[in-house]
């Protein structure tokens, strides 16, 4: 038994040591190789990037010659030179928009860079695929649309995200709509990441919103309603306002947020009505949005909302109330009332969001007695007692 154990210990130490030595060797080899590549890259960097920069800077004025194309195609065949070309292209796309960007996309297609990225989409290595999707999105080549759509059903979050973001950047309306229609309800991506993707769409956004806001899938539909709000184009306001009466809570909230972002107060009456909605989340958002719209028709309904049974509704109502012109006058009425929760929330918001300095400033110009600051102090003292 002792001999057996001795062997186990010895072998295990030996195996573990070999693993560590191999790790060390791998690390050193990797670092040396990296160093070698970097040195080689430095040697050719100036020539390759200079050549490409020269062509790219004159794309608006001159056609790329066959000789230039041939040279660039040659670069793509060499790993290190291709890396430099790719880096430069990504840098251009990060900083350039408009016709020069379209010409660059065409150049990337002509020299085979897009084909090279498309080839990577076939890899089984999901990191490679996700990176290729990201690069294709940056290059904005429509040549990639079919291959990207083929990947939409892959259940790898990173790939799915990068496919959608690439489609958003390429900006082809039909492909983008198709992709979202094919997404299942169980999509693992968060709502915020999908809104970010929708916000990033570079094609005709209005066309896309009009197609995707009405999807039966309430999750995707509310994402595009929210994104439409972020777009702040009032052309869509009427269509968004329809969702204020939707049965689905998510769509209602999305529509409220969108109209709040747009600052369009044509629908203020419908929004005021939502202060009585059965869902407290809808009431809370309605209270918040009324503050964004700055419409004094909302003042009295907001005072009523200060007595809502949900804290968030009261909090948002108090913030909106004091932010709308004339709202602060109504604080006296709240303090004279019976509802302790309404008084508490309004005093809290005056102190935390509005600021005591502003309360004092208000008193300086107001002829009302007692002064608001005194009325607040009196209420606090009574409460503490």
């Amino acid at each position: 038994m002792v001999i057996c154990m001795e062997l186990i210990v010895l072998y295990s130490i030996l195996i573990f040591s070999v693993i560590i030595i191999l790790l060390y060797a791998y690390l050193i080899t990797e670092k040396l190789y990296e160093d070698y590549i970097n040195r080689k890259k430095r040697r050719v960097y100036k020539d390759v990037s200079g050549y490409l920069d020269d062509i790219a800077s004159r794309l608006d004025e001159y056609e790329v010659t066959n000789v230039q194309l041939k040279v660039l195609k040659g670069f793509i065949k060499d790993r290190i030179k291709r890396e430099i070309i790719e880096e430069r292209f990504l840098l251009y796309f990060e900083n350039l928009r408009g016709s020069i960007s379209n010409n660059l996309t065409k150049l990337a297609e002509d020299i085979g860079l897009v084909d090279y990225e498309l080839e990577k989409l076939k890899s089984k290595d999901m990191h490679k695929v996700a990176l290729a999707c990201k690069n294709l999105g940056e290059i904005r080549s429509k040549k990639a649309l079919g291959s990207l759509l083929d990947l939409i059903d892959i259940e790898v979050v990173e790939v799915k995200y990068n496919v959608l973001m690439a489609l958003a950047k390429i900006g082809d309306e039909e492909a983008f709509i198709e992709a979202f229609k094919r997404l299942s309800k169980t999509i693992p991506l968060s709502e915020r990441s999908l809104v970010e993707i929708a916000d990033s769409f570079e094609g005709d956004k209005i066309y896309v919103y009009r197609n995707l806001m009405y999807l039966e899938d309430e999750f995707i539909s509310s994402i595009f309603i929210k994104s439409a709000g972020n777009y702040k184009n009032t052309i869509l306001a009427d269509e968004i306002a329809i969702f204020l009466a939707d049965e689905n809570k998510e769509k209602k909230i999305a529509a409220l947020k969108a109209l709040g972002n747009m600052g369009d107060n044509r629908y203020v009456i419908q929004i005021i009505e939502l202060l009585n909605d059965e869902s407290w989340e809808v009431r809370a958002i309605a209270a918040k949005v009324l503050g964004q719209l700055q419409d004094n028709r909302a003042l009295i309904p907001l005072v009523k909302a200060l007595s809502d049974k949900e804290w968030y509704v009261r909090y948002n109502a108090a913030n909106s109330l004091i932010s709308i012109e004339g709202g602060i006058e109504l604080v006296y009425d709240v303090l004279d009332g019976e509802d302790r929760f309404a008084k508490d929330i309004v005093v809290s918001v005056l102190e935390t969001s509005y600021g005591w300095d502003k309360v004092l400033e208000y008193d300086m110009y107001s002829s009302r007695t007692p002064k608001l600051s005194e009325a607040i102090k009196k209420y606090i003292e009574e409460k503490d007692r």
Partner: protein
């Protein structure tokens, strides 16, 4: 008892110890390998991550940073300054003064010119009485909460009650975040809506230069105690946490830096008040709750968002810290003993919890018995020299190899200590820690086991020094 029987007991027990050492080290090696793959995956993922896009995006999730403070007058002001200047679209910093006996409260009030406000509190989690809330209208994202002492968990729960945003992150008052750490720790919530908690890596700031709440030059400390801990942290985070993350079985998200979905934290009852290991307890509670109710969820470790913390430089403080960790671990494991080898809790019940019971909790006891029994057995002629040497080879060499492995992972991935001199120093300490330091920490953990009943509800503090221009 007759001598042959006694001899047989001692010998068999010694066999058990050496098998135990073999098994535990085998598990560590599996972790190391899993961690290597997981880290390699992460490093590749960074190449296509869109996190930079989100730094300026309105779609980034707003976050509430909770800073529980108990007698933190030395570091709290710098810490707050560093936090409010973080690179993140929308966040608030909530400092919770848990009835400090020193000048923590006044220092913060004076430094940031805070005024008491009448903010009603929505007690979604029960906490001790909140005595006051302080704000400065010109620093709208800073909130100071003064409350009656109730322990760190109680302070964190109070912070959750006050918070306005859907993600909360807890940061120790003696820690510093790197500028884009928040974005990186929140990205898993953006990428996967099932995410309920994310842990970031905690690194030791001793030896680094810190100016105006920023680590401007990463260095290694002169203190040997801190140096050993650097190696230990690399092993714990880059091997341990990353390895468990690969198995979807992370049981600890460090209290020094972790982010949580607020609704999920409230759903499981918030931080447990009657424990000093509230960080582990919250995570284990989440696992139990979501698995029991068959709700899909994800708890992630991200090795990149860095939180810098001060490591104790004296053995006295180290002893207090390790004792506290051991008590926290035991408390959490006892509270969730029903998960032990329970298939209902999947890999958590079948792998992670049993591992923590058998190796992390009982480990120090077995190790100490081994240190005593084997030499004794050898002295009394019950064991031969070969066995005696085997035990030491097993326990020391494995330790060295694992530490070197962790250092290698660090060098391969994030390379925070890039010079050859730093690599050599780290490797040297990776060897030296097995001769004394490791045994000391084992004794401290034993002390934690002994004092478990008596100390399981205390805050436990170590002496901090100011970060300002620290080297």
């Amino acid at each position: 008892m007759n001598t042959p029987l006694l001899k047989s007991i001692v010998i068999n027990f010694n066999y058990f110890i050496i098998y135990y050492v073999l098994v535990i080290n085998f598990i560590y090696f599996i972790q190391l390998i899993l961690a290597a793959f997981n880290l390699s995956d992460y490093v590749r993922k960074i190449r296509y991550s869109d996190y930079k896009k989100y730094i300026t995006s309105d779609n980034m999730i707003p976050i509430s940073i909770l800073v529980p403070a108990y007698n933190e007058e030395e570091t709290i002001v710098e810490n707050i300054k560093s936090l409010i200047s973080l690179n993140y679209p929308k966040f608030e910093v909530i400092v919770i003064n848990d009835g400090s006996k020193d000048n923590t409260l006044n220092k913060v009030i004076q430094e940031f010119d805070l005024k008491e406000v009448n903010q009603p509190v929505r007690y979604r989690l029960k906490t001790n009485k909140i005595k006051g809330i302080y704000k400065n209208i010109d620093i709208p994202n800073l909130i100071l909460v003064d409350k009656e002492n109730g322990g760190k968990a109680d302070a964190l729960n109070a912070g959750i009650n006050i918070s306005n945003y859907p993600i909360i992150t807890s940061i120790d008052a003696d820690s510093i975040l790197e500028s884009d750490s928040l974005v990186r720790v929140v990205m898993p919530f953006i990428e996967d809506k099932k995410t309920v908690a994310v842990g970031g890596i905690v690194r030791i700031a001793n030896g680094s230069i810190i100016t105006r709440g920023r680590v401007v030059d990463i260095g290694l400390p002169k203190s040997s105690v801190a140096m050993f801990q650097i190696v230990e942290y690399l092993r714990a985070f880059l091997t341990g946490r990353v390895g468990w993350d690969a198995l979807n079985s992370l049981l600890i998200v460090s209290g020094a830096f972790g982010a949580f979905k607020k609704e999920a934290a409230i759903e499981v009852g918030g931080y447990a008040k009657n424990t000093i290991g509230e960080d582990m307890e919250l995570i284990v509670k989440m696992h139990e709750y979501f698995l029991r109710n068959k709700i899909p969820y994800r708890i992630k470790f991200v090795p990149d968002p860095v939180c810098w913390t001060q490591a104790p430089e004296t053995l006295k403080d180290l002893r207090s810290q390790r004792r506290r960790w051991q008590i926290g671990l035991m408390d959490s494991l006892f509270k969730h003993k029903r998960m032990f080898f329970n298939p209902r809790y999947k890999q958590i019940g079948l792998i992670a919890v049993p591992y923590f019971w058998l190796f992390e909790m009982i480990g120090p006891i077995i190790e100490i018995i081994g240190y005593v029994m084997i030499p004794l057995a050898y002295i009394f002629g019950l064991l031969n020299l070969k066995y005696f040497l085997l035990f030491f080879a097993a326990s020391i060499l494995y330790g060295i190899l694992l530490s070197l492995g962790a250092i290698l992972l660090e060098e391969y991935t994030f390379n925070k200590y890039p010079t050859l001199k730093q690599l050599i120093k780290l490797s040297l300490y990776g060897i030296l820690e097995n001769f004394g330091y490791r045994q000391f920490t084992t004794f401290y953990r034993i002390e934690g086991i002994i004092k478990f009943r008596k100390m399981k509800h205390s805050w436990g503090k170590i002496k901090r020094t100011s970060f300002q221009n620290q080297r």
